[in-house]
Point group: C2
Chain length 341, copies 2
């Protein structure tokens, strides 16, 4: 049988309370006593039953998720996944609060983070904006000992505990590689549509994409980045304009959201002149466009995985448990028409 606290207490000749103190590193135990207990723990190969501990503690985990109120399918889908997780999580002593803030607004994010000081949550997850004031707020929360996970977009220099999202540099490189191969090496002009250069994930994708084109496909020239703010209406206008003004565009890399607008713009050009298109995030819109050939490949991050991973990591941090790195690595999905899930 697995040893329990009773076995340790008996073996060390102390009471349960003392075993508990040692186990949890609480003060008020004489050095010799502590060593006796630690000896028994090591000898018996004790490993704590976290479920029983949490039951006894009556502990419930209060987590806060701060999400931008973006009107695009990816963020809406992420919200759905999160609400699904909230329903299930209440059965596991978790209480998740969702805070919505205006998108691409560092001030709003800082305010939301600051507001968390009062509630003293067991952990915070948020979509980062890479700005000095955000980093400062994160440092303060970290100093207060609150575990933090960045979601979708990271903030690497700051003291977050974990990032639940894809490697965006690699995503950009992958897009570049596919674009280069699909265009078969012939000289061509490629347009890039982003949401905002303010968020790190978009910047990194662009960087990876440009690097691969330069290194491996020098025949491909890129136009200046179009910033669509992940807004379908704006994206449609920008892409429509670009396709009109630069008729020789043979490829488009849409590295942000708002692809509803991209697809609209593409549908209004003849299928003969349709460029090779690589976009991000599998949504109802991009899925349809992939099926009917309007889009050629979609790079995706699984919002459900990200949400569940963020919750698992926050819980592990709150419990002082290690995380399984491989399990929490968010993969870059590549979808063609043929491997749609």
């Amino acid at each position: 049988m697995k040893p329990t606290v009773h076995d340790i207490a008996r073996s060390a000749g102390v009471s349960l309370a003392t075993v508990d103190r040692v186990l949890n590193g609480r003060p008020g135990v004489r050095r010799v006593t502590r060593q006796k207990v630690e000896g028994a723990i090591a000898e018996l190969g004790y490993v704590r039953d976290v479920a029983a501990a949490n039951l006894a503690k009556g502990r419930t985990y209060a987590f806060t998720f701060i999400l931008p109120a973006n009107d695009n399918s990816f963020m809406l889908g992420l919200g759905d996944e999160l609400r699904g997780a909230v329903v299930r999580s209440s059965a596991e002593r978790m209480q998740i609060r969702i805070v919505n803030i205006p998108p691409f607004d560092p001030g709003a994010l800082v305010a939301a983070l600051e507001a968390e000081f009062d509630g003293r949550p067991a952990g915070i997850a948020f979509v980062a904006i890479d700005a000095p004031e955000v980093r400062a707020a994160v440092e303060r929360l970290a100093a207060a000992g609150i575990p933090m996970v960045t979601l979708v977009s990271d903030l690497p220099e700051a003291a977050r505990d974990h990032y639940a999202g894809i490697d965006n540099m690699a995503a950009g490189r992958t897009a570049g590689s596919l674009m280069g191969r699909f265009l078969a090496g012939a000289p061509a002009t490629v347009a890039v549509v982003a949401g905002s250069m303010l968020v790190r994930d978009h910047r990194e994708r662009l960087e990876g994409f440009s690097a691969v084109l330069q290194e491996q496909f020098p025949g491909l020239a890129t136009l200046p980045v179009l910033e669509g703010r992940d807004d379908p209406v704006l994206v449609e206008a920008l892409v429509g304009k670009a396709l009109n003004e630069t008729p020789d565009i043979r490829g488009i890399y849409s590295l942000g959201a708002g692809n509803r607008g991209l697809i609209q713009a593409l549908r209004s050009v003849g299928s003969l002149r349709r460029p090779m298109v690589i976009a991000h995030e599998l949504t109802a819109f991009t899925r349809q466009a992939l099926s009917d050939g309007t889009i050629d490949a979609v790079l995706n991050q699984d919002a459900g995985h990200e949400v569940r991973s963020a919750i698992r990591v926050l819980k592990a941090k709150a419990d002082g448990l290690p995380v399984i790195a491989a399990q929490e690595r968010i993969r870059i999905d590549i979808f063609l028409k043929d491997n749609l899930p």
Copy 2:
């Protein structure tokens, strides 16, 4: 506060034991009593604390994993992941036994399955072989009420509860689509290397690959399938011979394992004549080959995800809990040199 069994007992005016009987559908409760309790459960919105229940039951889950003793990196890696999970799982009241059997041997699999009747495990996971006698054994275990999960290769007509693996038809189609696009539509000859047509996953990949080539890339002709039994030595011999005898091979789809041999064979042909290569499973060998350009794309299933998913599903089945379908769907990873994890 969340309602507990005490609240239900009080509200229904019965004892804890009776509440427990109703909660667990045990017999020996009068109809009216049962209804009173069910009323209270519904009214209070009770949801059971599974952790506490398991603690009280002193329940430990005995699971058996039956794996083929294949000498290829994928299966070895899967074994590693499983052993890692075994270590962690003991902390969660799980006891996982690993049974190794000879590969591609339906009789051995049947014998291993039959042997499980005695131990009455809480669940079994196994790499299926699609043969009538295997299906029959599975039906018998299902009739005995033992939850079963197929791993990596499925057995769809049988009564398994879940399949922890990729959609192999889609994987084959994806390989076909990439091959067609990478070869840029020019007429060419493509070789296909499989492990064995006896396992369903290999058959399905071939089917998907061939279908896409026929539908979308009629210029690509495939040679008769080479069956390498996932054995590096055999694969190397077969591929070497094919490359010698059919010098105009411009693409190779390796849909099974044993890619160590494939890579050896490829390295001994000049880089000028090197064909476009798409293989399955990211291992130390294929990773290296992808990096140095010997292989162009790798389709992968994450063995760690599969193992953890199989365990989660078996546990859920044993607890009578639902599974989160989206969480348990195993994705087809596509790796290029640029998005290696």
